[in-house]
Point group: C5
Chain length 91, copies 5
């Protein structure tokens, strides 16, 4: 998993029942101290109700994401926000 | 998923029935504001009728792409354009 | 999928029946206009009879490659040259 | 697999039974000589009791990680610390 | 697949029966001419008896590696040295 910060949302139409009523958030990957980790981002399905600016945990493997969403074997999803980070301790 | 902009098409012959009648588009990955995200691109199967210049949503995992195309388990495909982006909101 | 240009061949012995009689080519990834896309390369199984210098289409996911080679579930292969590119149109 | 050094811990809540009682550590990838390998990191489930500062071996593929954790097919996990490195010999 | 040069070995303890008696080698990825390809490396299971300094072929996908090792479905492994390179011809 990786850490990310929620940056915003994307409005689009995906023609698959899995995405009906699901929210995808723009997540920018960050370092454990919250600073940017390069400039990579991902669109991830939100299952924890994360808001813009929050530090989150992102699972970025299809099978794991389907398990977390209880969408085995039929969820066409790779990236999921699985938790809000309370704290990161380094050192 | 990632955001991309359709740049063009590729004319080729793939010897597998899955690709008969399917169109692959050149998609350049972009940032949420539409600017280039490095210079990576991908050839993705189009299922939404995207045109050159349009901002699109790209699924880039094999199992998810097969699900979206209803091509389980026999679709040899990794990348699919799954939606046209109406808007991206940041911040 | 990605675009590549065939650069050469590799002579090696892989101790698995799948590779008996199969040819692996050195493919350098390129941009749609044929210029180098960084300096990444891959060794890919050739199923289309590509020659050195030709622009080709490379599938780079294991399950898709096994499907294209009709080697499900027993083909230990990730990258396959699936087509020769006739033309790429940008813009 | 890759080598990494444990940097710290992350406190978060993941709403999936797999993660109850499991510890995820911040691991920074390193070169065989222990120096930083770029600045990539990963959050990995610890199964060996690694401590901060220790050099560890990280498995970073979902299916392999599920096997090592005996969590087939239901473990939503991609990265696992599978061993503490006693020594790396180069040359 | 990719080309690599064996750089050394790693001494560690992985608590899974698959790794009993198996040797993992440090492999640095190289260009077809033998020069370094950036500075990426991987720890790969050796099945061909490769020695330090030798040019080898590395398979870097889990399912393919399990097939080559005849460890389906229970081998927690992603990267395998599958051959020693006799020659690479470019151009």
């Amino acid at each position: 998993m990786k850490l990310g910060r929620v940056e915003g949302t994307v409005v689009t139409t995906i023609q698959h029942p899995f995405y009906e009523g699901r929210k995808q958030l723009l997540v920018r990957f960050v370092e454990p101290d919250g600073s940017l980790d390069g400039d990579n981002y991902v669109l991830a399905v939100d299952v924890v109700g994360a808001g813009v600016g929050e530090l989150v945990l992102v699972q970025d493997e299809g099978n794991s994401s389907r398990l977390i969403l209880d969408a085995i074997p039929n969820g066409p999803v790779r990236s999921v926000i699985v938790g809000i980070v309370d704290a990161a301790f380094v050192g």
